[in-house]
Amino acid sequence: MAATLSTARRRQLGRPVSIVGAGLSRFGAFRDMTTRDLFVEAFQDLIDQMDQGIDVEDIECGYIGNYSSDLFEGQGHTAPILADWLGMTPTPITRIENACASSGSALREGIMAIASGMYDVVLVGGVEKMTDLPTEGVTDVLASAADGLYEVPAGLTFPGIYGALAKAHMDRYETSLAHLAKVGIKNHTNGALNPKAQFNTTLLDMMERRKARAEQQGQPVPEWRDEMDFLNDPRANPWIAWPLRLYDCAPITDGASCVLLVSSEIAANFTDKPVHIVGTGQASGRPLHDAVELTSLSAAREAASQAYAMAGVTPQDIQVAEVHDCFTIAEIIATEDLGFFEPGEGPRAVDEGRTARTGDRPINTSGGLKAKGHPVGASGVAQVIETFHQLRGEAGPRQLPNPDLELGLTHNVGGTGGTCVVNILRRG
């Protein structure tokens, strides 16, 4: 019942579960690749990266998040095709759909499959092939994650609903377009350090490249002085759903992600550096018009309180987090919903650089959905992969300097808050 939301019962896993390997495809627009090709690429990466190898025959079961291969590429019943292409038949694989939280939910299914005692070794992941459709088509497919009877007929799109959230946040707090822009600048700064990112470049470099191109083509060279100047030029950064502009939105992306989950008892058979899942929570929310607050996602608050309770930690204990920045405003609201900052304090934290890699509360070191890319069904597990690498100290040039990193969190939202999955990971 609604009244009991914030006092989540402390649920426990039947037995501990660990992550022992991770694989990620490239993220971007790959015209000739289908869903199965993307997932095979991620799976091969996982096999190549396993510290002590893996025999595919040992994988007992799989859960794969995928929002809509049906609408994006006309292919339903994706899971057995993936099983076949991975050479895993007759191993059972199940497709999980919870919009952009599909792989967050797939991960939870895998966790519970092991915690139940039924399986010891489970593959979980996600995949989305989005770029076959033109932008209008993608807009329609993403809008179908909202309520088709009571939201979509009002003209609301996926960016539109987040635009309304942004406007409500601006009305209630000191939030401005500049705060939103700073989230994007930060995430692109991180993405520039991530070789798998769709936008492996800073916004400043992107701006300089556009100036150089204009000069090459003999066109007037825009007089942008810095990123903020660039982002304030409506020709470079047009409105998508006011007050959200192009660079406030995560891109349309093809990509896949997967991790190998095992019962913690046998983790040492696979790696000396397992990462344990110490907390997991998931919740459902109502459409924005029926939300308690227009400036917060209730499902995120509930999922977070479940995960914190299971892990026995508080928001202040979390040292690194990947949050669902499908739009810049979504990152600000996420940091408030997760309890990192008080409601309305998220924008100031961005201003003060607290969420940068150099800040006390680093958010989206991978570049986030914004710069890394957002293949919607793959994003939840891709967030877990970044956290896995940070906790193991293998995030390369974007590795956080803190040598005592121990606790990380992921926050994966489906649609406009209809679903939220929060996981808390601890270095083994």
Binding site: E136, V152, G155, A164, A168, W242
Partner: protein, 142 residues
């Protein structure tokens, strides 16, 4: 009009809208109002619900002006150079609903004010799926 006999579902909601009426649900057990037509109360799970006629007056609680439009809105002539406004409307009876906001300058959102008074205007009333829309209340007197 025999309101009591209509099924509590979206087909009835849109049929009422076609008649120019915003009809939702009142739970007879707990009094909860919903601007969406549903057969069971989302608060107390009672199945004892009845149709409730909303006045059609409300205020704008949040909004967006959309420039990258879905195909259905593109067919109506909206697009990059002709954005439209969608919003969250708080009805005077309490519940909120998503609606198209007409009669505002969607190309200049800074001129649209949250909190403004709105009144119901059913759009595409001739179609089987009319659109729930609102316009600024003062426009009635123009």
């Amino acid at each position: 009009m025999t309101t009591e006999t209509r099924a509590f579902n979206a087909a009835s909601f849109f049929a009422y809208l076609k008649e120019g009426q915003l009809m939702g649900i009142r739970c007879r057990a707990c009094g909860k109002l919903s601007a969406e037509a549903r057969p069971m109360c989302q608060e107390c799970h009672s199945r004892d619900v009845e149709w409730f006629a909303f006045s059609g007056r409300g205020q704008l609680s949040a909004f967006t002006c959309i420039s990258v439009v879905p195909n259905a809105m593109g067919e109506k002539g909206f697009g990059r150079n002709n954005p439209y406004c969608s919003g969250i409307v708080t009805l005077e009876e309490g519940p909120r609903i998503s609606a198209l906001i007409l009669g505002v300058d969607a190309a200049n959102p800074q001129n649209i004010a949250t909190g403004m008074a709105l009144t119901l205007r059913v759009e595409d009333q001739d179609s089987d799926r009319p659109t729930l829309a609102f316009v600024p209340a003062q426009r009635l007197h123009e």
